[in-house]
């Protein structure tokens, strides 16, 4: 018992020392604290803000980001890049071009057809971020230089990939100064090019890519949030796709609604202005499920939601998105960044 008593005060002193140690937390300790707090598999705030046109949007030249829209992007989450510098973009272009040329000589790169010269271009994407503290987004493109001398610029874009971070302050706080946090990576083009460039980035900046799968839970959040966005005119019908697992092969169910009907349904469910809550998302989806059940006697809630498509954007559970409306580009990217950060952590 004596040993217990003597250990009592010392252990108390020790824990208070530890507490002091944590108050001036290094980035690593902040990460550990964050990791310990997260017990669930994916993020579940009970409410999120409906995407609005943020002030930064005004700075974005719609022409410059037009090429980001109407394209299907495969989404990856990316850990912070070590010692990445925006002033070295030209050097990175040269290094990556050389790397790809070398790989091509080894016979590993994709055949482009004729013997084009491959050019890699790094450029910053101004304005594609949430707050001023987010790092600048940047773009990597593989262009083939045509040999014909008739027209000066006849570059064909073979592959496009861009890195961005929208409202990612939480992640930036947990890493030291040497790291640049751009957790969202989107690629369009041949898969072999993606893995080639991904490999180069992993070697050069000591980071790690992983495909971002979007769960049915998050897809229903996206459906609700994007239906909630105010649109002047609707370009596409609102569609949902479910996959029913059954032998021998799975059944796919698609459910298309007129976008104005979807918005009307959302408005009847929606209460708090400017925010979307978990209850509203559940209610919105349950209305769709019960309507379907009434007509077809199928319980959609027992199946798996695999794809959601609205006039704002569409998303597939395998991690593919397509953004259709430039007004809400930042809003869509903000949600994707949140998912990417969650996957990294």
């Amino acid at each position: 018992m004596d040993t217990y008593d003597s250990q009592g005060p010392t252990s108390r002193r020790r824990t208070s020392n530890l507490k002091d140690y944590f108050v001036s937390a290094t980035p690593l300790q902040k990460r550990l604290k964050l990791a310990r707090r997260q017990s669930s598999v994916f993020p579940s705030p009970s409410r999120r803000k409906i995407p609005q046109c943020s002030q930064l949007q005004e700075d974005i030249d719609p022409q410059k980001v037009a090429f980001l829209l109407h394209k299907q992007w495969t989404v990856y989450s990316l850990t912070p890049l070590y010692k990445f510098s925006y002033s070295n973009l030209k050097d990175y272009s040269r290094l990556l071009s050389a790397f790809i040329a070398a790989e091509k000589q080894k016979g590993l790169a994709v055949e482009v057809g004729e013997d084009f010269n491959i050019k890699v271009i790094f450029s910053t994407l101004l304005g594609v971020k949430g707050t001023q503290r987010d790092p600048e987004a940047f773009l990597v493109q593989i262009r083939s230089e045509s040999q014909s001398s008739r027209e000066h610029r006849q570059d064909k874009v073979l592959w496009t990939g861009w890195f961005c971070c929208v409202f990612g302050e939480n992640l930036q706080e947990t890493v030291s100064e040497d790291f640049t946090c751009l957790p969202l990576f989107l690629a369009h083009g041949a898969e072999s090019n993606t893995s080639l460039i991904g490999g180069w980035f992993q070697k050069t900046f000591d980071c790690c890519f992983s495909p971002l799968a979007i769960s049915a839970f998050n897809l229903s959040w996206m459906a609700a949030m994007w239906t909630a966005c105010k649109m002047d005119h609707y370009m596409a019908t609102t569609e949902f796709f479910w996959s029913v697992p059954c032998s021998p092969q799975s059944l796919d169910i698609s459910y298309a609604i007129h976008p104005e009907d979807a918005k009307a349904l959302w408005d009847s469910v929606h209460k708090t202005p400017g925010e979307v809550t978990q209850e509203e998302v559940d209610l919105f989806m349950n209305c769709l499920y019960s309507h379907f059940h009434r007509h077809f006697r199928i319980h959609l809630s027992a199946t798996r939601l695999v794809r959601v498509s609205t006039s704002v954007a569409s998303a597939h559970t395998d991690g593919k998105i397509k953004i259709l409306c430039h007004k809400y580009l930042i809003g869509v990217l903000a949600y994707m960044t949140e998912l990417a950060i969650f996957q990294i952590e």
Binding site: S39, S40, V41, S215, F217, H299, A302
Partner: protein, 183 residues
């Protein structure tokens, strides 16, 4: 999904009276497999497992006293959660003193989940009952979970001297708010 399945599975072994347990869920195949795993467990008493898609059970059947109700929720299916929530209303409150537990499957494949883990944790907390996680599709996990369930069943039936269902429940309760996940 759809057609309710109710079967009595039993295996008579030795002298002591039966320990019936009840598995409630919409996931028929998983329930069947879990029930079979439970019945494979060698124990001194007679085990009976009753499967149901939802409660209440029809009142006309003549069945022995139920010692344990296990609600199986598949995180991939919102429908299974809805059915369990509806069924909970039909359970007599005396069962919630240790004779009810929630078993969650499907948490491993995150991309297929339509139900958030916090939802089931809140449900288990509301009903003050233990929450167990198990991937029921994997044979070895299923066998391990079956062993746990049989042990809980034996306690609930009063066949383990010195422990009652209520004792076990208070042992399982963790000091912080969320209920314990481990048995």
């Amino acid at each position: 999904v759809g057609v309710p399945v109710r079967t009595w599975l039993s295996r008579v072994s030795r002298r002591r009276p039966a320990d019936p347990s009840e598995l409630v869920s919409t996931e028929d195949a998983l329930l069947q497999q879990l029930a079979e795993s439970v019945l494979k467990i060698d124990c001194a008493t007679e085990l009976r497992v009753h499967l149901a898609n939802s409660l209440p059970l029809p009142s006309n059947a003549n069945r022995p006293r139920i010692d344990l109700i296990v609600f199986v929720i598949n995180l991939h299916s919102k429908y299974s959660l809805q059915k369990v929530e509806e069924s909970l209303n039909h359970v007599d409150s005396s069962f919630f003193l240790g004779k009810v537990c929630f078993l969650v499957t499907g948490a491993g494949r995150e991309s297929h989940c339509s139900v958030h883990q916090n939802t089931v944790m809140k449900l288990a907390h509301t009903y003050r009952s233990p929450l167990l996680f198990c991937d029921l599709q994997v044979e070895s996990f299923r066998a391990a979970m079956a062993q746990r369930l049989v042990r809980v069943l034996q306690v609930c039936a009063g066949h383990v001297p010195g422990i009652s269902a209520l004792n076990l429940l208070s042992l399982l309760r963790s000091p912080e708010n969320p209920p314990s996940k481990e048995l």
